[in-house]
Symmetry: C2
Subunit: 343 residues, 2 copies
Amino acid sequence: MAKTSIDKAVLKKGILAGDRASLSRAITLCESHLSIDQELSLMLLEELHSHSGNSLRIGVSGIPGAGKSTFIEALGMELIGKHQKKIAVLTIDPSSESSGGSILGDKTRMNDLSRSPNAFIRPTATNTQLGGVGQHTQAAILLCEAAGFDTIIIETVGVGQSELNVNKMVDVFLLLHIVGAGDDLQGMKRGILECADLVVINKADEGQEQKAALEASNLKKALHLFPQKHLGWSTKVFTCSSIEKRGISAIWNSIQAHQEQLKSTQQFDLQRKHQTQAWFADLQRRSIVDFVLLQPEIQELINRAKAQMESEEISFISLLRNTKIALSELFSPPKKDKEITKK
Amino acid sequence: MAKTSIDKAVLKKGILAGDRASLSRAITLCESHLSIDQELSLMLLEELHSHSGNSLRIGVSGIPGAGKSTFIEALGMELIGKHQKKIAVLTIDPSSESSGGSILGDKTRMNDLSRSPNAFIRPTATNTQLGGVGQHTQAAILLCEAAGFDTIIIETVGVGQSELNVNKMVDVFLLLHIVGAGDDLQGMKRGILECADLVVINKADEGQEQKAALEASNLKKALHLFPQKHLGWSTKVFTCSSIEKRGISAIWNSIQAHQEQLKSTQQFDLQRKHQTQAWFADLQRRSIVDFVLLQPEIQELINRAKAQMESEEISFISLLRNTKIALSELFSPPKKDKEITKK
């Protein structure tokens, strides 16, 4: 039997003891494309599943320049200092296809937080092939919880699909705006605003307070038109200055009030249950797709099409229809065929 | 035989005559999830394929607030007025999952352009289920070209996967920045900058010119570190004011120079060929996945898992492994089985 260099029992023990190196290695294992690693990571996740779930999962989103890192650092340091929390920050980074990284490394951001023994910061890669934000991040959340982190912050860059995915894996969703980005509303999609439990107008720094307050008031009016995401909770709007560390406590209090509201109405457990089920359904779907695409018959179909395209012998839309015919033949029930041939 | 209400021959004739209503209906047909519509749209695309390809395809991207609509309107009006072009604008709109729309309708944007008889503006939906920007947009490009539009502008909102997808279907890719968004570079992913043939610093309005020029100069230095996307073309940086209609001509001249460079080195045809092949590979992959997920055996697998999750009888990671076992059995070569049983 092939032996892998990673000892699952040692890794599990390390994670449960809160060892960061073990946690990091386990997240890397979950991100691996090798089937041996995937098998191992599934076993590890299964064993650690009962140790997970005891955290508050916070999603933080906003367009580039909204100050997400500074905000997360301010919130994180306050939670560590005043509330003895242990913070894991998972940043979702739409990978560069060409070179696999951002211009400025994530290490230069969140300086204070990254030095704290009670914080763990980890960028999680998105799988561009399948466009999946969910899969690896969900696994990383589970692992961080098993390692004893009680507050998980998931940061997403950009405006679009990734926010909607993150909304499906957090208990509370914060959307960051910036003062003075008035016509941002135009670019801000309704679907993302609908996900927000709290909207935070950041960069309400000294001299900008009044402007920020006006924008907060306008935003409140706009949000009034939206349906409630959670029973008994209408989206709250806050202003804050992450750099001057003002307004952070009020946001934290509101996050806690949101959680109390959800827990008092059984919505917390229900949301978690639905999220787990959605994660599983997604994992199952991907696993089916991966499996099927690797089948020799399907690979042959893909390679044949590629060769025909290369030689330009055939219109590509005809080729596509041939693919469907080949698939139909492949999936015609074999038992029935046998019966027919017997007759 | 079931009859559809859409007459393909009439639709084809309408499109080739440049009729906007026919073009709109055909794009809607391509976006349909009904298999009868998909079949029809494939036939239509195949028949119109030979009438497509004769356009310049321009991708325009940038974060919300960068002024994409204003820029496209300024560029479009200039091309229509000075160069007798016919412009189709396809805006890619990450759909709202909850309600399927943006807060401010796209109709309020690009006022002048939307009134011009030589412009056609159409938001194309993204298929959130499969995360696909590509499929419908590629079809829409083909249809617009068949309808006689010689300049196709594809606008994407947000920063992330959709830009990388759009880059795979255009001849030239423009990235819009705004003056004063200094630390935007941090959020701007390397992969997206690597796609840019031109970077435009927008909102260089009166009084902002100097600041914009400084930022352009800094950006040029940063871009210097990047590999060339096209042989003989390093990414150009421009400043412009879309509202004051300044700097637009220089950008258009540079787009043309870019096309000449690509055509003189055979890169234009090669890029188009690769794009068509990538589109086809993507279509084929999606068609395989769609087909497989609809098979009764696979549906049963998914439904069984759902029921088990609902009753919480079983760990979901175990369930996932059961799925793999079921798939392996489903895909075990039937011919081999027969041989074994014969022996």
